[in-house]
């Protein structure tokens, strides 16, 4: 029997361009003689080889030991080395720039740094590679030619998508206890509604199951779900497995805490007249904005400080895990009904009626930062997930975007009606409520936006806005109930199973809760830069070093003076000693000097080029030059 390889050899003149048959391992010993036999054939393979070598060269730095190794079939690996990783993915997981290597004498430190950098690079690459395998992808709504996406109605979207997604758009008509505040739990599983006139409902909104519904017979200012169950309460029950998430309700008088069965767990009398609340999930802190109108114990306490204000505003922090007040800060800035948190560093942002936004941490009695953002009062504030941008809206009908790392304005928009509520989604969509319409904007900080991405009109005035985490859903609480809007591209498509898992079982939830409570971050660690703890404390080191020098009487870290070794055969002459000294002189400063010289050269070059250009421009004579005198 003739193998397919031999067949091509026999009629090579006729079917020159016939595809080469797949290589077989039994062919390998014949290859030499085959190439010798047909004269025309070798034209093709070298080209391929060339391409291959080019590719291989390109990828050289990442090549492993597999390079050049042939398979049994005789073919070489078309994709040698480890698979390439896209640069932007790697960038996404980058935490730190490369460190400057210390000098030669600190060789141990140098080794340590090199090793840790290697490890972090490997982690970064692995994470980036893993990122390619994530199951879900994000996408946005796209209109036909000349069709604006904001013209597409919610009903159309709900009809177009699959049934389960379509079911996520719904209306709850609750006109009786009107306007509603909205909050989703951290996993996005539960929806909490708080009606102004006392109606509170907790809903598993995806299955549309009502967890509890109560009327507290008192006005409700705000609701917040806290994502943990009450440990004390659980202990009281003898460690029963019934753990239900708690939620806090700011009622007319006190702050109450209910569990998801609607049982009142606590009434916290230390927190009265709460207007707004924010829950810091990793610190287990409930930050509350309190306004005291009446005469109460706190007024007495602060009587000496503020004698003549009728309303005093406080920012109070409650540690939810142990039920203790952590800090109470008198803000001295009037009514606090605009509040949001920076999810990146757990700083609380407060908006005030004089147009300023202030940043607070529980460790400081004064505001960390005061920013004048608007001409009129601030109506709403929100901060994006990465802690980079803050979006504010004010009475001056403006919507402004700030970079809160540098505290600088980025963009300013004019909304004819002004936005009363703002909310940012996980992937950076901004929803703004103006009266009874909800508008969603895309890319507010990167490109100048002229029209909204989506818009929707609801029955009454909007009172609360909240994007559902890990879902393309925006919850709108308004005077006539609640509307769940579909906003494609709003939520993070891939959740992390160990952090916030929407599909977790009761057991998983309990495990997570214990873990989360164990790694509760202390309130003292809240600061503007959350990575501050991982940085080197140069100041303290310097101080300690000085103390040490004082105690010892000499500097133990001082570099020893270089004394050249004595060499025989006349090589320790004065001249050669000097030369050897010169070799190590200023070794520590050489890098710096080299760099500054290079920088200078660069600047000089740029300057010269600029001048050249200028000279060129000036040498071109315009027609009007003749009139110059």
């Amino acid at each position: 029997m003739a193998s397919p390889g031999e067949a091509t050899v026999s009629d090579s003149h006729v079917e020159k361009k016939k595809k080469k048959p797949p290589g077989r391992y039994w062919q390998e010993p014949q290859e030499g003689e085959k190439e010798g036999k047909d004269g025309e054939q070798p034209e093709q393979p070298p080209q391929q080889n060339e391409q291959k070598t080019q590719k291989a060269k390109k990828r050289k730095p990442e090549e492993g030991q597999r390079d050049g190794k042939k398979f049994i079939s005789g073919k070489s690996d078309p994709f040698p080395g480890p698979a390439p990783i896209p640069e932007d993915r790697v960038q996404k997981f980058k935490r730190k720039d490369k460190m400057k290597k210390p000098r030669r004498q600190h060789y141990k430190l140098r080794d340590m740094i090199a090793r840790s950098e290697e490890a972090s690079e490997m982690a970064q690459k692995q994470a980036a590679r893993f990122d390619l395998l994530l199951p879900e992808d994000a996408g946005f709504l796209e209109g036909d030619d000349n069709e604006d996406t904001y013209m597409i109605s919610q009903e159309d979207i709900a009809d177009a998508v699959d049934i389960t997604s379509g079911a996520k758009h719904f209306n709850l008509k609750l006109s009786q206890f009107g306007p509603y505040r909205v909050d989703y739990s951290k996993t996005g599983r539960h929806l909490l509604l708080g009606g102004r006139r006392g109606h509170i409902a907790c809903i598993d909104w995806q299955s549309k199951q009502l967890m509890c519904e109560i009327n507290v017979m008192e006005s409700v200012n705000d609701v917040k779900s806290s994502s943990v169950s009450d440990t004390n309460f659980r202990l009281c029950l003898g460690g029963s497995t019934a753990s239900h998430a708690m939620y806090a309700v700011a009622q007319k008088k006190w702050l109450h805490i209910y569990d998801s069965n609607g049982i009142e767990l606590h009434c916290i009398r230390k927190f009265n007249d709460v207007l707004r609340m924010q829950f810091l999930p990793y610190h287990f802190l409930l930050a509350t904005a309190v306004e005291i109108l009446s005469f109460s114990h706190k007024m007495e306490f602060f009587w000496c400080i503020i004698p003549n204000t009728s309303a005093t505003s406080f920012l109070q922090y409650l540690d939810v895990s142990v039920g203790k007040e952590v800090a109470a800060i008198c803000t001295k800035t009037g009514r606090l009904d605009v509040m949001c948190q920076n999810p990146h560093n757990a700083i609380i942002h407060l908006g005030h009626h004089n147009g300023t936004v202030t940043l607070w941490s529980p460790n400081q009695k004064e505001a960390l930062v005061k920013m004048l953002c608007h001409q009129g009062g601030v109506r709403s504030v929100t901060v994006d997930k990465t802690g980079t941008y803050m979006v504010t809206s004010g009475m001056d009908k403006k919507l402004k975007v700030y970079d809160i790392r540098a505290f600088k304005p980025v963009k300013s928009y004019f909304l004819p009606a002004g936005a009363s509520c703002l909310s940012l989604s996980q992937r950076g969509l901004l929803s703004a409520a103006t009266g009874d319409t909800v508008q969603v904007y895309r890319d507010v900080w990167s490109t100048p936006v002229t029209k909204p991405y989506m818009a929707h009109r609801v029955q009454g005035t909007v009172w609360g806005l909240h994007f559902c985490p890990f879902e393309d859903v925006l919850g709108v609480g308004h005077g006539d109930g609640f509307t769940s809007m579909l906003v494609p591209g709003a939520g993070e498509p891939n959740f992390d199973g160990l952090d916030a898992n929407p599909y977790r079982s009761a057991k998983q939830r309990q495990e997570w809760e214990v873990k989360a409570l164990l790694e509760k971050i202390q309130p003292e660690l809240i600061s503007l830069d959350p990575s501050e703890l991982g940085q080197i404390d140069h100041a303290t080191f310097e101080q300690r070093h000085q103390d040490r020098v004082q105690a010892l009487g000499f500097d133990p870290l001082a570099t020893e003076k270089f004394i050249p070794k004595y060499k025989k055969k006349g090589r320790s002459s004065a001249g050669s000693v000097e030369r050897r000294k010169k070799q190590v002189a200023h070794e520590d400063q050489r890098d710096v000097i080299r760099k500054t010289v290079e920088d200078k050269m660069k600047m000089e070059k740029e300057r010269k080029e600029k001048e050249k250009k200028k000279a060129l421009l000036s040498s071109q004579k315009s027609a009007l030059d003749r009139f110059k005198k």
């Binding site: 996404k92 997981f93 935490r95 994470a127 893993f130 990122d131 994530l134 199951p135 990793y282 999810p343 990146h344 560093n345 757990a346 997930k385 990465t386 802690g387 993070e492 891939n494 959740f495 992390d496 199973g497 160990l498 952090d499 164990l518 790694e519 509760k520 971050i521 202390q522 660690l525 959350p530 990575s531 501050e532 703890l533 991982g534 105690a551 010892l552 009487g553 000499f554």
Partner: protein
């Protein structure tokens, strides 16, 4: 499903810090190093030897001339023999593990079989050598039938002969300890009572070199991994690690004991060593650290005379004056026994975290805190004050004398008098 996106995991550093803090606290909670006490000796335990082949066997010799063999897994004595009259000064197991040697105050070297004599047989040594002077220590060669003793002089013995094949002396002095180098097997080091440490080559007729220190060294031990380093325990409360090539200054001075250090033994990994002291404590030092990472003590333990680190790097054995041998964990918070994979993963992760945040003041404070007996605590405080006073005085002297006339002498240089070749 995991998503490692950093924006989904805020507060990385603070959360890791909290984890590290918890891990450090848990480590201190679980730090229970004491495992067992082996009692049975009728006098203080003077010397111990590890079996060269069997992990679970330990030999110990006491001050009344008794030698006991212990089974460490069962915590009981398997054999007792009256080896000498007076102290058992040294005990060492032959490299093959079939027999062991003892020396005692009765000027004899005896070789014993490791096996228990059968029914009706008498407990008799295989071989007895009568020496001229008292022997104070011995050590066996790593792979040849040669052993070395020390006393008035250092002797090298062939197992087949009854007289030494070589004797070394350097001045008239007695020696307290002798050790073969585990890698360069022909090399020896010994501590002499004229405050010196002497190095020998077995093949040569004269000693190599010696370093004289300000105080006497009691014992020494070679680093089994980097065998050019050895550590000696000194009477001046310190231990010194030397590089045998450069004896003019020690590599590291290990301070923390508050009384004379009596014995030292390296871990088989060569990264740490354990020291026994007259101040009734055992301390564990990293090989290049100036201060101990761990201190072990009990209310009942008296002056610790000998100490050994087990060959599996997990246990420490200490023999003390009050007739007991104590078994300790080398890593106080370690969980013994087989770990489940998840458990091991968790411990590894915690270990890494502790390492990462070890310099944070809060964590450092918790990790470094040790309860000390009152005497040791007060004495260490006193020593610190004395040292500070001395330093202050020196500083003042330097301040009021001509610049350069009172040079700064580092701690390492202070304790070496001379090196003689």
């Amino acid at each position: 499903p995991r998503n490692y996106d950093p924006t989904l995991h805020p507060f990385e550093v603070s959360r890791e810090y909290t984890r590290a803090l918890n891990a450090t606290k848990l480590e201190r909670v679980f730090a229970k190093p004491f495992l067992a006490s082996l009692d049975g000796h009728r006098d203080g335990v003077n010397c111990m030897a590890k079996h060269s082949r069997s992990l679970s066997t330990l030999l110990s010799g006491s001050c009344d001339g008794e030698v006991k063999l212990w089974n460490l897994t069962k915590h009981d004595c398997v054999r007792t023999l009256q080896a000498h009259e007076g102290f058992v000064r040294g005990i060492v197991v032959r490299y093959c593990g079939t027999s062991f040697f003892t020396v005692g105050d009765d000027k004899t070297i005896k070789q014993w079989k490791m096996e228990t004599p059968g029914y009706g047989e008498e407990e008799e040594p295989l071989n007895t050598i009568l020496g001229k002077t008292v022997f104070t220590g011995l050590d066996h060669h790593q792979k040849e039938a040669v052993f070395a003793t020390c006393g008035q002089q250092v002797d090298i013995w062939d197992e087949q002969r009854s007289s030494p094949i070589r004797s070394f002396t350097w001045g008239v002095d007695s020696f307290s300890s002798i050790r073969f180098n585990p890698v360069e097997t022909e090399l020896l080091a010994s501590c002499a009572s004229d405050r010196s440490i002497v190095l020998y080559d077995m093949r040569e007729s004269a000693p190599l070199k010696k370093v004289i220190m300000t105080m006497r060294s009691n014992t020494l031990c070679w680093n089994p991994m980097e065998a050019y380093y050895f550590t000696c325990s000194n009477e001046d409360y310190n231990l010194y690690t030397y590089d045998m090539r450069y004896l003019d200054r020690p590599i590291t001075v290990h301070m923390d004991h508050v009384s004379a250090v009596l014995d030292v033994d390296y871990s088989p990994t060569g990264k740490e060593f354990v020291s026994a002291s007259f101040d009734k404590t055992i301390r564990i030092f990293p090989k290049d650290g100036g201060h101990s990472r761990e201190v072990y003590h009990t209310k009942r333990m008296q002056h610790v005379i000998c100490v050994k680190w087990s060959a599996d790097n997990k246990y420490i054995l200490s023999g003390s004056d009050e007739m007991n041998i104590r078994l300790w964990k080398a890593n106080a918070a370690e969980k013994l026994g087989v770990l489940a994979p998840r458990e091991r993963e968790a411990t590894n992760y915690n270990q890494k975290l502790k390492e990462k945040f070890q310099h944070h003041p809060q964590i450092r404070r918790i990790a470094h805190h040790r309860h000390l007996p009152k005497t040791v605590y007060h004495q260490s405080k006193e020593l610190r004050i004395m040292k500070e006073a001395r330093r202050r005085k020196e500083r003042n002297v330097r301040k009021h004398s001509r610049p350069g006339s009172v040079p700064v002498v580092s701690e390492k240089e202070k304790h070496v008098v001379t090196v003689v070749k």
